[in-house]
Amino acid sequence: MSEGRREQEGRDPLLRRILTGAAGALLFPLLAILLSFAIGAVIVLATGNNPVAAYVALFNGALGDPSAVGRTLLNATPLIFTGLAVAVAFRAGLFNIGGEGQLFIGAVTAAWLGVSLGFLGPLAIPVVLAACVITGFLWGSVPGMLKAYFGAHEVITTIMLNFVAINFAYYLAQNPLRQEGPIPGTETVDLAARIPAISFALGRANYGFFVALLAAVAVYLLLWRTRRGFEIRAVGLSPGAANYAGMRLGLNTILALAIGGSLAGLGGGVEVLGTYGNMDVPFVANLGFNGIGVALLGRNHPAGVVLGALLFGGLYAGAQEMQFATDVPLQLATVLLAIILLLVTATKLVEFIVGKRARALASGAGTRLERGLGS
């Protein structure tokens, strides 16, 4: 082969790699975000408000001052965990809708052990969080086993197990773990055994955020630097080829869902030890379900999940400010998020709006996403 030809062959994939790599992966969600803000502006106008003022308030509420940043980080922290829980399972070709229940299992574990091990002080924190990982792992393995041994579809089982987990957690919180007093919920974990706040200026944002970042790094290493991750990705992309290569489909199915469960469980533990100090009834809702959106937005990549969670967290934080400053209701944040997700998942729609070029640039991950949703 001549030198010139080899060079030519080398150049093309490199270019494509860059385009479909980080830049390409970011471009598409960014377009979706911009578009949804444009659509949101129309909605704001329709409610008789000034979209510029609304968006300035939204931005200020999300990033305008340290306390705003703190709120954004606080909101984003659990979503990183639940987003990762979806992403890991997705890499194995599984749709984990059970993040909500898995988070509740972790939260009730933390509420129970946080109180009973509170005498250990700060030493209790790693012990309790490890316990959350374990209970989340066990709980997540249930739909995995149902799938591996009985062929039960994980979408159905994870959805159903959410109800079981949530009600089981509430039962524990209201009965054996119930605190004295009129408010239903568990006893509160001793301050010494709680995850400390990062700094006074950032408000309630706590070191749980860094635990979440560590979890994202761990997930990255797991997926791309370990045998298990290699198997999980192979099983997810091509069960036939994985089986042909001698990998065990059932084992990887169970592990992927269980690892997802352990991440969401850890998220529940961080919520209790970091943010709330106990588990109230009702406990904070929808963190698990929003994790699905975060994972979709983040293209099931740990770095994308972190960015997606920050966007979700920022929008929710900013929407409160926007409601104070203008008459735009809090729900606009939810509407914006819904539109962003619609645009990210409905790639054809964006193709229609911005033309095919953008889609070609961002193809790599988008098609995989559709495939996953279609299955």
């Binding site: 791309w224 370990t226 045998r227 991750g229 992309l237 091509s238 080829a241």
Partner: protein
């Protein structure tokens, strides 16, 4: 009606050709699949469309069938410029297509399948008698024998294909496109099909026959248009050409159609053996019903048979990717029946699966990941549960170069490669571990002629090195030219053993399950 005219003869006579495609160009991103392609199909003519995989035949036909819109160029039907919007539009204009993979619904009857989507009605309900009557009439008129009331699930592949053709005829097509119709047929069934096609053109139908098999086109088509790299290379009269010329036009250089096989001294000991092996297919039916075989070192054992007679299940059971129902598998004399695929691989078994798309490769993995698909858990790729992508990349780069995979870029996504290069990537992985036993299931399916040469060369090289090779193939020519002995499989059983000198006739009868007499050795 029977005025058979050559393509350009039609226009010179004044009557426009049934179909003319002029300067058709279709691009997908940076790839130009069709580059100014023109072809002409005269009334009552069979046009052969010849080209390697990825040459652009399918794209062109998808344009004709309304699945793609051309970027440039025009399509004329009976001299009138048309724009075909979608398959429904194509059908209403009299264009029918028989795909490589059938689009029949197995639980329905023949008649139901044929009228599906254009059902005769009685009030609100389906007029089944009318459907049966129409099917019988068509079947009689064109000599395509089928029983309208039998369930498609119970029919053989050859008959299913007839149903597909009848389905098109029921919609009054004038142009029939057949995509690789002989891939699933025995030699005899192929002859039957061609007899039917000749009858159809005698009746005024025009046919485009897509294939990459050189020989068949000579027997049946009037003209042959050869496509290479998206361009029409030439259109030749089938009467004035031969296989050598067609191969040269198709590939762009001289091609060795015959494989040079050296004599190997008497084969060595038995390295792979099966004893009374029974295997179930994914549907639960017995697919392999008591197969005995022995492959010796330095020998290629060919396995001929029509697709779907248990060859796939046999290969998978031997390789360990499918559980065995009964019987035993031996690797180098040791019982391997209960070993998994990875344990067998560690004992020197290489397996080139017939389906590189869904088994041999993870399409969305990079080539370096695919190259380590079986050895990712062994040093030097792995230690203590961690994997080392850098080492994988380096090893893959060497293997890809050694097996002439293009591009030899370890980062390239497997799915972005052509069929031939994907197959070479599979070979690079399977053969570079210096295996003792090789199971090659249809190693050249959907692979271009150049890659076929290379793959055959590699298999013969392994044979010369004393490896035991089981070659499973649907291509008789391939089995004959490479094998030292040939087993024929039919309905899950080995129905005969012949030497490589066996004729098409002999093999064909065995493949059809007839003349099931074990040849006395």
């Amino acid at each position: 009606m029977s005025d058979r005219v050559a393509g350009d003869g039609a226009s010179s006579k004044g009557a426009p050709p049934v179909l003319e495609m002029r300067g058709v160009t279709k691009r997908f991103g940076a790839v130009t699949a069709n580059d100014g392609v023109s072809l002409t199909l005269g009334r009552g003519e069979i046009l052969g469309l010849l080209g390697e995989n990825g040459a652009g035949k399918s794209t062109l036909m998808k344009i004709l069938y309304g699945l793609y819109t051309p970027d440039e160029g025009e399509v004329f039907l009976d001299g009138e410029r048309v724009e075909i919007r979608d398959p429904k539009d194509a059908v209403s204009r009299g264009i029918g297509m028989v795909h490589q993979h059938f689009t029949l619904i197995p639980p329905l009857t023949v008649a139901e399948n044929i009228v599906l989507g254009a059902e005769p009605r009685k009030g609100l309900s389906l007029n089944l008698e009318e459907a049966v009557r129409a099917t019988e009439e068509l079947s009689e008129r064109y000599g395509l024998k089928v029983d309208p009331r039998s369930r498609v699930a119970d029919l053989s592949v050859g008959v299913r294909q007839r149903v597909e053709i009848l389905k098109a005829l029921y919609r009054n097509v004038r142009i029939l496109v057949l995509d690789e119709p002989t891939a699933v047929l025995t030699p005899q069934e192929t002859e039957d099909l061609f007899a039917v096609l000749k009858e159809l053109v005698a009746d005024g139908l025009s046919i485009i026959l897509i294939t990459h098999k050189l020989g068949e086109l000579l027997g049946v088509s009037d003209e042959i248009t050869i496509i290479r790299d998206g361009r029409v290379v030439d259109t030749v009269d089938a009467a004035d050409t031969d296989e050598g010329e067609l191969a040269r036009l198709m590939v762009g250089r001289e091609v060795l159609l015959r494989v040079e096989k050296e004599e190997v001294e008497t084969p060595g000991g038995v390295r792979l053996a099966a004893e009374n092996l029974t295997v179930r297919s994914s549907t639960g039916a017995l697919a392999v019903k008591g197969v005995d075989l022995e492959v010796r070192g330095g020998e290629i054992l060919g396995m001929a048979g029509v697709d779907g007679n248990g060859q796939t299940e046999l290969a998978e059971a031997l390789a360990g990717t499918r559980p065995v129902e009964g019987g035993r598998v031996f690797l180098d004399g040791a019982d391997a029946t209960n070993l998994g695929a990875d344990a067998r691989q560690e004992r020197g078994l290489a397996y080139v699966p017939e389906d590189r798309g869904t088994k041999g490769l993870v399409q969305d993995f990079a080539l370096y990941e695919n190259n380590a698909l079986k050895t990712y858990d062994e040093p030097p790729f792995s230690k203590w549960g961690w994997i080392f992508p850098k080492v994988m990349r380096r090893r893959a780069a060497e293997a890809l170069r050694a097996y002439d995979v293009r591009p030899a870029d370890p980062e390239a996504r497997a799915g972005s490669l052509s069929g031939g290069n994907q197959q070479k990537a599979v070979l690079a992985r399977e053969l570079s571990g210096d295996p003792g036993v090789i199971i090659a299931a249809q190693p050249t399916r959907g692979v271009d002629v150049g890659a076929i040469e290379f793959i055959h060369g590699q298999l013969l090289k392994q044979r010369a090195e004393g490896k035991a090779i089981l070659l499973i193939s649907l291509e008789l020519e391939e089995v004959r030219s490479l094998s030292d002995r040939i087993l024929v499989m039919y309905a899950g059983r080995i129905v005969g053993e012949v030497g490589p000198e066996a004729t098409d006739e002999q093999l064909g009868l065995l493949m059809a399950g007839r003349g099931v007499e074990e040849k006395s050795a």
